[in-house]
Amino acid sequence: MGIRTGFWLRAAGMAPCLPLPLYLLLPLYLLLPLGVAPGSAAAMATAEAPAKIRIAFAGDSIVDNYWSGVGRIVDANPCLKNSIELGRFARNGTGLTRGDRIYWPREIKRIGDNFKPTLSVLSIGLNDQQFIVDGSGVRTAWGAPDWTDKYRHELDEFLQAAVATRSIVLMVGMPAMRDANDNNAINGKNAMFEAAIAALGDPNLHYVEPWRLRPAGAESFASYGPDRTGRLVQIRTADGQHFTAAGEDLAASYLFPKIVEALEAAGKNLDQCLTKQTKDE
C-alpha cells in the first residue's frame, strides 16, 4: 500500500505514487548530512571504552591502504584486537589544497574531538598537484610563485591541528609512484613533510619514511613484487598509485612496527600481544 500523494511533492507539481516506506525514509534522508562520516560511527560508539588504544588513519586514499593492511594485522591477533581500535578517516581525492571541499586542519580537529585517537597515522598529498583553496576560501593558482609557500603553510596548519589532538602523530611519506611526474612531486612533498615536522619539533610528531619495495638502493615503482611467501603478485593497483591487498600487507608489515615503537615510546606497551617476531613484522 502506498500513499498516493504527498502535499509538498504535489505542491512542487511532481507528486509521484510513492510507497509508504519511502515517505518514512525521506526524513532520514534529509538527516543524512547530520550522519557521521563513514567508519566513524562505529569508532565513536567505542570511543567510550577507555582501555583501548585508538589509532586514527586520516588523509587521502593511500591511508585507506594502511588502514586495511594494519587492520588485517590487528584482526589476526585476538590480543591486539582487544587492545586496539582503528578509526578509518580517509577521504578519497582530497588533500591539503582544496579547503573548499575538505579543509583538513578542521577535519583533523573533528577527528580528534570525536575519536580521541591515541595515535594518528596520516598520509596526504597524492592529489595536491593543483590550485590551493585555503580554509577561508582564498585561492592560489597552481604554478603561482607563492604556491609552494602557501602549500607549506597549509601543511603547517594541518600538522599543528594534528598535534593539537594530543595524539602521537605519524606522518607517512608517500611511496614511489609509476608516473615520473607524480614521483617528482611526491619526492618534493616528502622532503617538505620531513622538514616541516623537524621545524615544528614536537616530540609527538614523527615523520615516517615511505614504504620501499627494496630495502636498499634506488627505489622505483613496481606493480608486481614478492608477497610475504615470496610469490610474485600484484602489489600496486592499475592506477600506479595505490596498493593492492597484497601490497597493503607489505606496507603494513613495514608500518606496524613503527606504530608499536611510537606507542611504546609514549608508554603504551603492546608487549602482552606481540612476540619478538610479530613485533618486527
Binding site: 512542487a12 510507497p19 560511527a41 578519497n92 582530497t94 609509476r178
Partner: protein, 472 residues
C-alpha cells in the same frame, strides 16, 4: 573527470548549450563533441589521447579496407589483423604483467628461474570499453551488417563520445553511427527520464554505493576471517547492492547525459536482482556487455549450433573470457567460469530459454529467483575478495556460522534499505514521475534537479570514490 564532481558539472554546463547551438551544423557539432570528449579523456592522462586516436584511426582504416575487398578470405585476413591489433594493445596494457607473473611463479614452482621483465606502464582508462566499441564496428563491417563510414570524424566521435567512453554502456556502431547523420531533434529528448536517470544515478553512487562501501563492505572484506558470520552474510548482500548501485549509476548518468545531448544509448540494467535464472540475470546485468559477448564471441565460436558439448564449451569460454575482461586476475576468471558453469547447468536441466520460463509456475519462479539471487551474490565474493586467501576465508568463516553479531550500523542499514528500493520500486512509478516532471512548469523543472543535486551533495561522504568499473 568523474561524473559526480564540480569539474564535470562545469564541463557539461559548457558542452550542453554549445552542442545544441551547433545542432544545425552537424560537422561542427561532431568536431566540437570529439574535442570535448578528448578533453574529458585527457583529464586522466593527456598522452593516452594519442592511443585513443590511434585505435580509432586503425579501426577506421581496417573497416574501409574490409568494406572494399570482395574476397571473403581477404576480408577475414584483414579482420584478423585488426582484431589482433586491438586485442594485442589490450593484452599488452592489461594482461602482460599478469601472464609474466604466472609464468615466473609456474617455473619457480618446479625449481626453474626465468628472467622475463615486467612493464611499468599505466593502464589506459577505458581501454576495455573503447576496444570493444572498435571491435563491434569492424566485425559488423566484415559481416556486411554495416557499411564502413568514410568519415574519420564519425569514427572518432563513435569511439570517444564522452558519456560512454569510460565505463559504457557499450554502444553498437550501427546504432550510434546512424545517429551521427544530420541534426538531432530536440523533441526526442526525454527530459524527465534523463533528469531522473542522472539524479537517481548520483544518489545510487554518491550516497548508496559510497556509504555501503566505506561504512560496511570494505571493513567486512578487509579480513573476512576476523568478521562474524552474520557480517559476512550481510557484507555479501551489501556488496551486491553496492556494485549494482555503483555501476548502474554510471550507465544511468551516461544514458541521461547522452540523451540530453540528443543521442540514444541502450539500456544497460534491468532490475538484475529480480532475475529468476542465471540466464535471466545476464539479460538484465550489464546488458550491453552480455549481448556483445553473445554476438561477437559466443556466436562466432559456434553458439549452440554444433551439439551439446560444443555449446557448453562455448558458454564456458565466453563467460570465462567475459570474467577476464574485467581484469587480469584469477578471481575474475573464476567468477566468469562460475557463471558459465551455472548457465551450463541450467541448460542441462532444461531451465534455460523462453519456453522453460513460460512453463514455470509462481512457486518455481519464486524458487528460481531465490536460488539465482543467492548464486549471484555468492559469486560476487570472488569478484570483490582481494586474494585467494580472502575468498577462502570468506566462505569458510561465513559457513562456519560461528558468530551472529553484526557491526552494521543503523545508518548503513538505512542506506541498504534505500539501495534495495532501487529493485522494489515498480518501473511505472518511475515513469509516472518522469511524466509528472515533463508536465511541470519551468521553475519546477529547474528547481527539482538543483534541489536534488544539492541534497545529494550535502549528504555525500567527503571525498570522491571512483566508480568500480573504471578499473576495467
Amino acid at each position: 573527470m568523474l561524473f559526480p564532481t564540480i569539474e564535470f558539472a562545469v564541463f557539461f554546463a559548457v558542452v550542453f548549450p554549445i552542442t545544441w547551438l551547433l545542432n544545425d551544423h552537424n560537422t561542427w557539432k561532431k568536431l566540437f563533441l570529439v574535442a570535448a570528449s578528448y578533453y574529458f579523456y585527457a583529464f586522466w592522462r593527456v598522452d593516452f589521447t594519442l592511443l585513443l586516436f590511434a585505435s580509432s584511426l586503425l579501426n577506421y582504416l581496417a573497416a574501409l579496407v574490409i568494406g572494399r575487398l570482395q574476397s571473403r578470405a581477404w576480408r577475414l585476413a584483414v579482420l584478423w589483423i585488426a582484431v589482433a591489433a586491438n586485442l594485442g594493445l589490450l593484452g599488452y596494457f592489461k594482461y602482460y604483467n599478469f601472464f609474466v607473473a604466472q609464468l615466473i611463479n609456474g617455473f619457480d614452482a618446479v625449481g626453474l628461474k626465468v628472467d622475463v621483465g615486467f612493464i611499468e606502464l599505466p593502464l589506459p582508462v577505458a581501454i576495455s570499453f573503447f576496444t570493444f566499441h572498435a571491435l563491434s564496428y569492424i566485425i559488423d563491417v566484415y559481416r556486411r551488417a554495416l557499411k564502413p563510414t568514410t568519415s574519420l570524424l564519425d569514427i572518432l566521435f563513435y569511439i570517444s563520445f564522452f558519456p560512454h567512453l569510460i565505463a559504457g554502456p557499450i554502444v553498437r556502431a550501427n546504432k550510434f553511427l546512424a545517429q551521427t547523420v544530420g541534426r538531432r531533434d530536440p523533441a526526442n529528448i526525454r527530459l524527465g527520464q534523463s533528469v531522473f536517470l542522472i539524479i537517481g544515478g548520483l544518489f545510487k553512487k554518491v550516497i548508496v554505493a559510497n556509504y555501503l562501501s566505506t561504512g560496511f563492505v570494505d571493513g567486512v572484506f578487509r579480513d573476512p576471517t576476523a568478521a562474524s558470520s552474520l557480517d559476512l552474510v550481510l557484507g555479501m548482500y551489501a556488496y551486491a547492492l553496492q556494485i549494482y548501485c555503483d555501476f548502474s549509476a554510471y550507465t544511468d548518468i551516461a544514458i541521461g547525459i547522452a540523451n540530453l545531448l540528443g543521442y540514444e544509448f541502450p539500456q544497460n540494467f534491468n532490475y538484475p536482482y529480480r532475475a529468476v535464472s542465471v540466464q535471466d540475470f545476464w539479460r538484465r546485468w550489464h546488458m550491453s556487455l552480455s549481448s556483445w559477448l553473445r554476438d561477437y564471441l559466443y556466436i562466432p565460436l559456434g553458439g549452440s549450433k554444433f551439439g551439446t558439448f560444443a555449446t557448453y564449451r562455448n558458454i564456458m569460454i565466453t563467460m570465462a573470457l567475459g570474467g577476464l575482461w574485467h581484469g587480469a586476475s584469477w578471481a575474475f576468471l573464476i567468477w566468469g567460469a562460475l557463471h558459465g558453469a551455472a548457465l551450463v547447468i541450467e541448460r542441462a536441466l532444461g531451465l534455460a530459454g523462453e519456453a522453460a520460463a513460460k512453463q514455470r509456475g509462481p512457486l518455481a519462479t519464486a524458487f528460481g529467483w531465490l536460488v539465482t539471487l543467492q548464486f549471484v551474490c555468492l559469486a560476487w565474493i570472488f569478484f570483490r575478495a582481494p586474494s585467494t586467501d580472502a575468498w577462502l576465508g570468506y566462505f569458510s568463516t561465513m559457513f562456519a556460522g560461528a558468530r551472529w553479531t553484526t557491526t552494521m550500523t543503523p545508518f548503513v542499514a538505512v542506506i541498504f534499505v534505500l539501495g534495495a528500493l532501487s529493485h522494489v520500486l515498480p518501473p511505472r512509478w518511475l515513469e509516472a514521475l518522469d511524466k509528472r516532471y515533463d508536465r511541470a512548469s519551468l521553475p519546477v523543472k529547474v528547481a527539482v534537479p538543483f534541489v536534488a543535486i544539492y541534497l545529494i551533495a550535502i549528504a555525500a561522504p567527503g571525498g570522491i570514490a571512483p566508480f568500480i568499473y573504471f578499473q576495467f
